[in-house]
C-alpha cells in the first residue's frame, strides 16, 4: 500500500471584488492533481512560479482546505480526519519551508523553536525535551551552544538546518520540502542536499521535494512530476523523465536549463517557448499548455488531455498530451545526457 495517495485534489481561491466582496471568479491554483508515493521514496515536484506546486503541498498537509479531492495517508482519509486524528497526522507529516528568514520566529531562541512542536504535542518532560533538542541540533550539524542563540545570528544555510531540526522533532515519516535550497548559495546548497539525503537514509523518511531547479530535483528524486498551471502534465521515474520526456513542456523546461559545461552548451539545441505562463484565474480552454505549445493542434484547444500511462516505459510513466514524443527504441531524442 502506498504511504500517500492523492486523488484529483483541487484548490480554487475565490476572487472577490467590489464593496460587497462578491465572488467574481476563481484562481484555479490546483486543478486536479493525482499521484501516489511509496514509503522511503522521494518524489520531486517541479514547475515554474505560479504553477500550484506550493498550494498542492499545503492542501496535502491541510494547511489549506481542499476544494475537492481525496488524500489518503497511511490508510487514513486526511480530508475527513477528526481533530484527534489530525493531531496524529501532523506528527507524521511535516514541512520545511523555502525562506529561512521568515519561517523562524525572530524572538525565540533556537532551542525553543525546535522544542515547540514537542511542547504543542505535549511530548516528554522539560528535561526530555531538552535532551531531544540537543540530539536534533547534533543531527542537523549544529552544536548545543547554537541552541541558546536567536535566528538572526545565523546564516541562511544554518537557519535552514534549524528548520529541518524543527521538522524532525516529532519523528515524522513524511516531510514536504518546499524549495528548501532555493534561497541558499551554491556551496551551502550542496551541504543542505547532502544533509537531507543522509537523514532520509538514517530515518527512512519519505520526501515530497518541491523545487523549480531541475538539476537539484534530478539529483535528489526517485520519481519526478512536472506541473503546469495547476495540473500535472507528466510524471515518471527520474531517469525516464529526464532522458525520455514525452510532454512538450517537460522537453522545453529541460532544454532551458543552462548546463555548467561550455562544451555541452555550444552543441545543444534549445527549445525556447514563446510568451509567458497564462494566469491561473483565466486558464486557457483545452490543454492548459496549448497557447505556448509548438505542437498544438485543433484538438488541443477543446479539452485537456487526461494524464495517462504511456505504456512504453512501464506503467510508471504518465503524460497528459494528445501528441506526446515517441522515442524510438528507447533512445533519447531529448536533452543531452550520456
Amino acid at each position: 500500500m502506498s504511504l500517500l495517495e492523492v486523488r484529483d485534489i483541487r484548490k480554487h481561491f475565490p476572487i472577490k471584488t467590489g464593496v460587497l466582496r462578491r465572488t467574481t471568479g476563481h484562481v484555479y491554483a490546483v486543478d486536479g492533481v493525482s499521484f501516489s508515493m511509496e514509503k522511503g521514496e522521494t518524489l520531486g515536484l517541479v514547475g515554474e512560479s505560479g504553477c500550484g506546486k506550493s498550494t498542492a503541498a499545503r492542501v496535502i498537509l491541510r494547511l489549506l482546505e481542499a476544494t475537492d479531492g481525496k488524500i489518503v495517508f497511511d490508510g487514513l482519509d486526511v480530508l475527513q480526519a477528526s481533530r484527534a486524528e489530525m493531531q496524529q497526522l501532523r506528527r507524521d507529516m511535516q514541512i520545511v519551508f523555502q525562506d529561512p528568514y521568515s519561517s523562524l520566529n525572530p524572538r525565540m531562541r533556537v532551542r525553543d523553536i525546535i522544542a515547540e512542536p514537542l511542547r504543542i504535542h505535549q511530548i516528554g518532560t522539560d528535561k526530555e525535551r531538552q535532551d531531544r533538542v540537543l540530539a536534533l541540533l547534533d543531527t542537523v550539524g549544529l552544536n548545543a551552544e547554537h541552541g541558546e542563540r536567536y535566528p538572526h545570528e545565523f546564516s541562511g544555510g544554518q537557519r535552514q538546518r534549524i528548520g529541518v531540526a524543527r521538522a524532525l522533532a516529532l519523528n515524522p515519516r513524511f516531510i514536504i520540502c518546499d524549495e528548501p535550497v532555493s534561497a541558499l548559495d551554491v556551496s551551502i546548497r550542496a551541504q543542505m542536499i547532502n544533509l537531507l539525503e543522509d537523514l532520509q537514509d538514517e530515518l527512512g523518511l519519505t520526501y515530497l521535494f518541491i523545487a523549480h531547479d531541475l538539476s537539484v530535483v534530478k539529483h535528489i528524486s526517485d520519481r519526478v512530476a512536472v506541473m503546469y498551471l495547476g495540473k500535472i502534465v507528466e510524471i515518471a521515474g527520474r531517469d525516464v523523465l529526464y532522458d525520455l520526456p514525452q510532454h512538450p513542456y517537460t522537453e522545453a523546461l529541460l532544454s532551458a536549463v543552462p548546463i555548467p559545461d561550455p562544451e555541452t552548451e555550444r552543441t545543444r539545441r534549445r527549445i525556447i517557448l514563446e510568451g509567458d505562463v497564462p494566469s491561473p484565474a483565466n486558464p486557457p480552454r483545452g490543454c492548459v499548455f496549448h497557447p505556448r505549445c509548438p505542437r498544438a493542434q485543433e484538438r488541443c484547444t477543446s479539452a485537456m488531455p487526461p494524464l495517462e500511462s504511456t505504456g512504453d516505459a512501464g506503467a510508471d510513466h504518465q503524460v497528459a498530451c494528445y501528441f506526446p514524443t515517441r522515442h524510438e527504441g528507447g533512445a533519447a531524442a531529448g536533452p543531452p545526457s550520456s
Binding site: 515554474e48 512560479s49 546564516s155 544555510g157 544554518q158 548559495d185 551554491v186 556551496s187 551551502i188 546548497r189 550542496a190 551541504q191 542536499i193 547532502n194 539525503e197 523549480h212 531541475l214 538539476s215 537539484v216 534530478k218 539529483h219 535528489i220 531517469d239 529526464y242 532522458d243 522545453a252 523546461l253 529541460l254 532544454s255 532551458a256 536549463v257 543552462p258 548546463i259 555548467p260 559545461d261 561550455p262 562544451e263 555541452t264 552548451e265 534549445r270 525556447i272 517557448l273 510568451g275 509567458d276 505562463v277 536533452p335 543531452p336 545526457s337 550520456s338
Partner: protein
C-alpha cells in the same frame, strides 16, 4: 587584435560602517574587449555587484568609497571624472541591467516614458521622436504589440517583459558596454532562456562588450567567453571559459563546480560541498579570504595574499599551493577524476 573597451586595475571599494570597514572589493583587475562577454562568478557577498557598481560609480557614498584602483575607458580614468561627465558615460558608453525587474522600473510612470527619458537625456531627440524610438526598442527586444505596450505601466508587464523593457532602456543609446547584474535570477527557466537569447542578440547587433554577473555557472557556461571567479572581495581565479570549467586551478573554483547537481550527469553521485560558511567581510584576514574553508591551507595562507600565478594563456590564479601539488589534489576530487571529466 580585438578592440579593448575597458580596463580595470586594482579596484578596491570599502564601506565605512559603524561596525567597521567592510572590504567589499579588494584589488580587482580585469579587461573587456568589443564583442566579448566576461562572466563574474561568485556567491552572495563575494563583491561581484559592488565591483560592477564601482565601475559605474554608483556605489552609495557615504558609506561606500572606491579607495584605490583605476577604471579606464577610451583612455579616460572614470574614477577621475566629474559627476556631470560621468552621467554622460552612463547610458552612452556603459549601461546596466539590474537583477530585480520589479523594483528597477518606476511603477508610476509608463514604460514608454521611462525608455523615452533615457533617450531624451542622452540624444538630441524630442519627446515624440523619443516615444517612437521607445516603441521600436520594445519591439526589438521581442515584446509583442510594442505600440500598445509602450503606453502601459510596469505592473501590466510580466517579470520577463519587465526585464526586456530594462534591456530596451539599456540599449537605447547604443552603449559599448552592457553590465548585466544577475539578469535572469528572478525569472523562471523558460523565461530565463528567452532573456539570455535577447542579450546575445543585442550583443551581436550592437557589437557590445558584456559583463555578466551571476552565481549560476550554467548561465556563464552558455554566455561567457572568459570568467572571473570572486570570493570575499578578491579575484581568486580568472581565465577563458573552457579553462575555468575543464582546468580549474583554485580550490574555491573546484568547490563551486563540485557543489553543483548536474542535469547532464546520470549517476546519483554525492555532492562535494564547501565546508563552513561565507567569510565576514569586516573581519577579513590579511591573507586569502578562502583560507578558513579551503581544507588545503598552509600557514602563509592566513597572513599573505598570494601573488598572481599565470598558468596558461589569459589564465591566472591566486593560490599559495604549488601548481604540481594542486594538480594532484584536484585529481583526488570526485568531479575531476578522469572518468567524469
Amino acid at each position: 587584435m580585438a578592440e579593448r573597451l575597458l580596463e580595470v586595475a586594482g579596484l578596491t571599494t570599502h564601506f565605512f560602517t559603524h561596525a567597521g570597514v567592510v572590504k567589499a572589493v579588494n584589488g580587482v583587475s580585469f579587461t573587456l574587449d568589443r564583442r566579448e562577454t566576461l562572466g563574474i562568478v561568485g556567491e552572495s557577498g563575494s563583491g561581484k555587484t559592488v565591483a560592477a557598481l564601482s565601475v559605474m560609480r554608483l556605489v552609495p557614498d557615504p558609506p561606500g568609497k572606491v579607495v584605490a584602483g583605476s577604471v579606464t575607458l577610451d583612455g579616460r580614468d572614470l574614477l577621475a571624472l566629474s559627476d556631470d561627465e560621468m552621467r554622460q558615460v552612463r547610458g552612452n558608453d556603459i549601461a546596466m541591467i539590474f537583477q530585480d525587474p520589479m523594483t528597477s522600473l518606476n511603477p508610476v510612470y509608463k514604460v514608454g516614458d521611462q525608455i523615452a527619458e533615457a533617450v531624451m537625456l542622452h540624444q538630441d531627440k524630442g519627446k515624440k521622436e523619443a516615444w517612437r524610438m521607445a516603441a521600436q526598442l520594445l519591439a526589438r527586444v521581442g515584446i509583442p504589440d510594442a505600440d500598445q505596450r509602450v503606453d502601459q505601466y510596469p505592473h501590466e508587464f510580466s517579470g520577463g517583459m519587465r526585464q526586456r523593457a530594462m534591456i530596451a532602456m539599456a540599449i537605447s543609446c547604443n552603449p559599448d558596454i552592457l553590465i548585466a547584474d544577475e539578469p535572469t535570477t528572478a525569472l523562471d527557466v523558460t523565461i530565463q532562456a528567452q532573456i539570455i537569447e535577447v542579450v546575445k542578440e543585442m550583443q551581436e547587433q550592437y557589437e557590445s562588450g558584456v559583463i555578466l554577473i551571476t552565481h549560476d555557472l550554467g548561465v556563464v557556461a552558455e554566455m561567457a567567453d572568459k570568467i572571473m571567479v570572486m570570493y570575499g572581495g578578491r579575484t581568486v581565479e580568472y581565465g577563458p571559459v573552457d579553462a575555468i570549467f575543464y582546468d580549474p586551478q583554485h580550490p574555491y573554483t573546484w568547490g563551486l563546480l563540485g557543489s553543483l547537481p548536474r542535469l547532464d550527469i546520470v549517476e546519483k553521485t554525492r555532492l562535494t560541498p564547501i565546508r563552513g560558511n561565507p567569510p565576514d567581510l569586516i573581519a577579513l584576514a590579511e591573507g586569502c579570504p578562502f583560507s578558513g574553508r579551503c581544507g588545503y591551507e598552509r600557514p602563509e595562507c592566513r597572513d599573505t595574499w598570494p601573488e598572481l600565478e599565470r598558468v596558461g594563456p589569459d589564465h591566472g590564479v591566486h593560490c599559495h599551493i604549488p601548481a604540481e601539488e594542486r594538480a594532484e589534489l584536484r585529481s583526488l576530487l570526485p568531479r575531476f577524476t578522469p572518468e567524469v571529466a
